[in-house]
Structure formats: structure tokens, C-alpha cells
């Protein structure tokens, strides 16, 4: 495969955060009506000004800088003391042992952890089961490694409450067809669903039966709304040689600017991840690692309040979307994503997303980034200023009417 062909599959023109590079070509003659005034809202990622970093994070960073060389240069997988502290907290959080020395690695962002986990597990020609819809990079990682994606559908819109709606028969079919890796996010990005205890148990059983490696991205697993029960896959597969869990403080804790991720699980996979980290980015973020000293040790009540604020935004936005005729939306059980399905429009979904940005100052991510079957959906990260987010969705609703078929 030529390098050009290989990279054509990694196009990120519509990826969240890249909208600033778009031009308005192709929209001439398509846009109707005037611009709607209002404070612009970028739903492609969370607003860390509206929901600031967890308290004390900057002071921890400053203390890391003051430590000097000992913090700047650590093992490639990160400082042992920081790994030990994180491991102890992750045992308490996930309900299963964590090997701080050999079974945990710090990475530049959770994206870094995801890349290393997949590239340390999957090689050319391997078959990988990928959920649709799921995090947009999952598919691209498989493409980059010249592996083969076996899609498994998640019927989030029609699933029973408390279930993600994964097609478990489809997952088994993928394993039967040769998939030896299963990569998925829980809570799901973009749909905000949480896998039920029965779904997790079945995934664990199938992975054991087929000897498959599972990489589970739990980036949003601390941001659970009232009534949501979360099941950690690693507690259902204790001591598995075939499981890596990915987590990080970028989302609920708003520490994304420090670029920190954590992966933990099977030591032989973590060992390969470190070998790869050595040539991909050398080591875990030097000074930033120090910020993890405060992770899972936030002040009493801080996390509860952060969740409550997000739940209130969720409820208001879900109500706004539900009021748009022909629009369907499932209230997320966790995380900060909404994934509504829009009614039929006179312009293409891609054109609508661009019109939304140009005419209403509202940036969202097209559903096709997450699944080829979700062209009529859009993803919104609702970790935003509450009032600005509500007003932005009202402008979005007005544009839906403007372009309604």
C-alpha cells in the first residue's frame, strides 16, 4: 500500500477540533437565511473554562517542575512513585488488582494509551472487532496498522434502559470469523451508553472462550449519572493476560491540557506498549505526570458537584432535542456526549454541520466519524457553559426548521 493510500484512510477533515482548518467551499448556493446571533459554542470538545481543572492540579505541576530532573526524566512508563499511587486508587476504583511495577503505564493523553495498546496488540492482517458507533480513532488505528476491522453494531437507540445495546451475537460472529482483539469504549463515545453487568459478563466470557485480547477505553467511567450502575470489565476478568484498561484525567477532571493517560492490565502487553512508547514519544509527559498525584484524590464533594452540573445540562439539552419534531435522542447514562438523530433535511448532513458552524456559531461532530450508519446523527460534548449550551441548541433547532425537508 502506498503511503498516500494509507493516509487517505486517516482523513481528519471533519475530526473534532479541526474545524478551524475547514474552508466554506462547496457551500455556495446551499446556505439559506441569515446568521443567528449568539455566543459560539464548540461542542466538539469540553469547555475547561466552564468546568475548570480539578483543584490543586497546577500546584502539583509546579511541584513537579521544582523536583527538576527527577520529574523530567523518568522510566519511559512513568515515575514509579506516581504509578504506585495511581495503582492503589485504580484498585479501589475498578475492584481488581493493578501491578504498579509491570502492569501500568503513563502516556501522553489517553489517545497515546489507546494507540500504544492497539499497536502493541494488533499487527498487519489481524482481525479486530470494532463497535459501531464508537470513538472515531478506533477505526483509524486499525487502518493505520493495516489490520482488518470486523464491525459489531451497538443498537443504542433501541436498547433497554441500563443496556448499551451491543449485538452480542454479532460480537461472537466476529470472534468466530477470526477477530482476536476487541476494542470498545465504556461508557460509549459517542452515545453515552453504559454496558450492563450482563453485557460485560458476556464480553468477558467470549474473550476467554476465543482467547481474544480486549482493550477497553473507560475514559468517562467516573462521570456516571444518578441511577447508573457501572461494571468494570477487569473485575469480571481478574488477572487476565488479555485485558488492557485505559483511563485518564482529561475529561471529568478537565486536565486535558496536561496530556495525561494511563493504561493498566496484562504486563506483557504493557511491556510492549513501553517499547513502542520509547520510539513514539519516548516517555510519559515529564512534569505533567506530577499532576496525577491528585487524581482520585479530589476534595470531598467536588466530583459529586461536577457530575450534578453535567446532569443538569444533560437534562436541559435532552429536553430541547426531544422537542424537535422527528429528532430522537437517548439520555446518556454517563459521560458528556449527546448523540441525537436529526430529521430528514434538504441539505446533506455534512452540509448541515458546516451550516451550523457558519450560520449559528455551533460546532458539532458529524455522526459519520463514529459509524458509517450514523450519517444523520451528530455528536455534542455538553461539558459546556450551561446557558450557552442551551442557547446553542435552540439555534440548532432553528436551523433544523430552516432546512427541514
Amino acid at each position: 500500500m502506498s503511503i498516500q493510500d494509507k493516509f487517505a484512510r486517516l482523513a481528519n477533515d471533519n475530526a473534532p477540533g479541526q474545524e478551524v482548518r475547514q474552508t466554506d467551499e462547496g457551500l455556495a448556493g446551499v446556505l439559506r437565511g441569515d446568521r443567528l446571533d449568539g455566543r459560539p459554542v464548540d461542542f466538539s470538545h469540553g469547555d475547561v473554562d466552564a468546568h475548570p481543572p480539578s483543584p490543586g492540579s497546577f500546584d502539583l505541576f509546579a511541584a513537579g517542575v521544582a523536583l527538576g530532573g527527577a520529574q523530567a526524566y523518568t522510566e519511559y512508563r512513568g515515575d514509579m512513585g506516581i504509578r504506585e499511587a495511581a495503582a492503589a486508587r485504580l484498585v479501589a476504583f475498578t475492584g481488581a488488582p493493578v501491578d504498579a511495577r509491570d502492569g501500568l503505564i503513563l502516556t501522553p493523553g489517553t489517545q497515546g494509551a489507546l494507540f500504544l495498546a492497539v499497536a502493541a496488540t494488533v499487527t498487519r492482517g489481524d482481525k479486530v472487532a470494532i463497535v459501531q458507533p464508537d470513538y472515531f480513532a478506533n477505526r483509524k488505528l486499525v487502518e493505520f496498522l493495516e489490520a482488518e476491522m470486523l464491525p459489531v453494531q451497538m443498537h443504542h437507540a433501541s436498547a433497554a434502559p441500563g443496556e448499551a445495546g451491543l449485538d452480542l451475537a454479532g460480537l461472537e460472529a466476529a470472534f468466530r470469523a477470526g477477530a482476536r482483539t476487541f476494542l470498545f469504549s465504556n461508557p460509549n463515545n459517542p452515545a453515552g451508553t453504559v454496558y450492563s453487568p450482563a453485557e460485560i459478563a458476556r464480553i468477558a466470557a467470549l474473550a476467554a472462550e476465543y482467547g481474544a485480547t480486549v482493550i477497553v477505553d473507560q475514559l468517562y467511567s467516573r462521570l456516571l449519572y444518578s441511577g447508573c450502575a457501572y461494571t468494570h470489565l477487569r473485575a469480571a476478568m481478574p488477572g487476565s493476560d488479555n485485558l488492557v484498561t485505559i483511563l485518564g484525567p482529561s475529561k471529568t477532571e478537565s486536565l486535558s491540557g496536561y496530556r495525561l493517560g494511563v493504561a493498566f492490565g496484562a504486563p506483557q502487553i504493557v511491556s510492549r506498549m513501553e517499547k513502542l512508547q520509547a520510539i513514539v514519544s519516548l516517555r510519559a509527559p515529564g512534569y505533567s505526570q506530577a499532576v496525577l498525584r491528585g487524581w482520585f484524590a479530589e476534595p470531598e464533594g467536588w466530583m459529586a458537584e461536577r457530575i450534578a452540573r453535567h446532569q443538569a445540562i444533560r437534562d436541559d439539552l435532552v429536553a430541547r432535542f426531544a422537542a424537535i419534531p422527528g429528532c430522537s435522542v437517548r439520555a446518556p447514562e454517563a459521560g458528556s456526549y449527546l448523540f441525537p438523530r436529526l430529521p430528514a433535511l434538504t441539505i446533506t448532513p455534512a452540509q448541515f454541520v458546516r451550516a451550523l458552524r457558519l450560520q449559528a456559531g455551533v460546532t458539532v461532530t458529524p455522526g459519520t466519524e463514529f459509524s458509517p450508519h450514523c450519517a444523520d446523527s451528530i455528536r455534542l460534548n455538553f461539558s459546556q457553559d450551561h446557558a450557552a449550551a442551551v442557547a446553542a441548541v435552540e439555534r440548532l433547532a432553528a436551523l433544523v426548521e430552516r432546512y427541514r425537508r
Copy 2:
């Protein structure tokens, strides 16, 4: 290729910075004599406590945090304002235009830039010309991508003053054999040589003749000792569609803890690098990017003093090594590496490196990390406390006598 085979080629047991994970197995019955007292020195990397980060760097980081979301979330290739400022300074430094919008990308560390540049250029089965000796990750990047390495020798020990000693006929032979990528560091890591104007002109001419892409790692190109003339390859290949230059503030400026790298050159390569960054680490380091605002804008005289201090350490250490009978060393023209060749010993070079750490508290990197032909050499990063470094090399000399054949 199985994932196990693929990663066996990426072993980093002897990589600089990973010594803490080594055990003393295999040394029983090999060590002779007592431990030599003295302050431990880790020559595997620079000491940023002895040579602290450039002035104002922490304040720039703090200002980035204060900017909030605008600094935490940027284009994947980095903030446009920071890229524009860096581009202007890199024009002045390298003597050739830099396209801030489309021809420059910020990455997590220069290792990140190197990975992205190579992986955006080389695909499976491609032939890549690699210098021996050169930076240890170059070979591993080629291995990871399942490409083929065509080695080109650099005769640094016997080269004329002012020349790196690259086998230019060997380079042409590699191109003739099908290499379409050439990856090298200038100043050379580990030998500290700088390519002469004639060598650079010949590399440029050969690259043009064979349509090859060149990736040049200039990480140490600001740390030039008196009498050294540096030639920027990009000034010899202006506007080339086939050149990427890599630089960063981790070394001379001691900003490694912020994990910052920069790559600049052909826009179509930078575009692919950004697509890959999206799935490898998502974006350039959020808050850390802000530290680049002070890059190439250090206080008057600061860089000259930093270079003078390193030159003084260089001179003392070169004299110490030259005084060891049978040891040969070339004084580096740039950078902070010494790459002396040791006399014949009664133990293997790998055992000597471990003995040095255990018996003398001196950590160095074995020459085999840089070339299979350099087993009797060791690399020392002499960006250390001056007196401690001299004392450490004296202990090293004592151990050479202890184990001399």
C-alpha cells in the same frame, strides 16, 4: 510477523533511561574489586538540575494554563499563533522559508516528531537509508514499520576535522539499491560530529537525483562549539517537497520535562504527520506549547554562556578519556555527547556498562544501541555537573584499568 516477533526487535533493556529496570543477573562471578565511592552520574541523559531550563519557561507555561481552553485545545498541529512565532524564528535560524500554516507541526517531544515524520513517509517494505552510528530509535522506527534498513557508515573517528565522515558513496549505493528515505541526525547523536558544507551539498544533490525524502534530526543544532560551522540542509534544498527538519527545546534549553518537539518542511508530509498525530497522541502538548513562546528568544548572552559551560566540560572529559591508554575519542563539534572507544577488556562491553553502574555509580549507554559496529564504544551525555562528571570519568578510567585485558 507475529506481534511478539515484531516487538522483540524493539527491545529497550539497554536504552538510555531504562537502567532502573535492569537486574544484576549474569554478573555473578564477573565483578572484581570494591565499589568506588563518588556522587553517581547518569550520563544516559542531560542533568537539567545542573543546567536548568531556559529562563521564563515556567512562567510561560503558567500563562498557558491561565489561557484555559484556548491553550488546552488547539489544532492537532498546535496553536496557530505559536506556530507563526516559531516559524519566524526558524526562518532566521535555518536560512530558508517556513510555512507556519501548512508546513510546521508541534509534537510531544522531538521523539514524537521523529516518529510521525518517519511513519508518514515510510511504509511496509520500503527501503530506508540509516547512518551507523546514529540515534538509537532510527533503526527501531524502521523495524516497527516493517521497512528495510540500508545502513550507511559514518567514519567519525577517522574523518577530517570539520567533516562528519559519512560514506557518501555508500549513501548513493543505498539510493541506487532503492532507498527512498534517508534519516539522519546532524549534529550526529552519538558522535557529536557536524556534517560539512560539502557533505550537506552532496546529500541534497543525491536526494534530488533519486527523488528521496530526507528527514534530518537537528535536535542539537543550537549547541555548536567554537570553530564549528553548521550547514542547514533545508537551506541547501529550498522549497523541497521531500524534506522534513526536526528540532525541539529539550536539550540545549533543558526543556525536556515539557515534552515539546517541532517538525517543519514539506506541507504534504506535515499534513500526513498531523493525521497520524490525531490517532497517536491527538494533539501537540496543550499547555506546554505555550513554553515555545520563549524559544529562540532567550535573554541576551544566555545561550553563549550555556555553550561555554558545555565546551569546558567537553574539554575536560575529552582530556580524561585521551589519557586512558588505548582509548580513542574525537572531540565533538556540537551537542553534548561523547562517544569514546574503549580498549580491550576482560569482560564484555555489556558487562562493563553494568559493572560501571554497579561499582562506580556511572550510567552510560552501550555503543550497540547506535550501531552494531560500535560494541566497544560508550555514549555519555556530558550535560552534567562539571565536577561530578570529571570525577565520574575518573572512576570510569579506574574501572577500565581494573578490567583491562
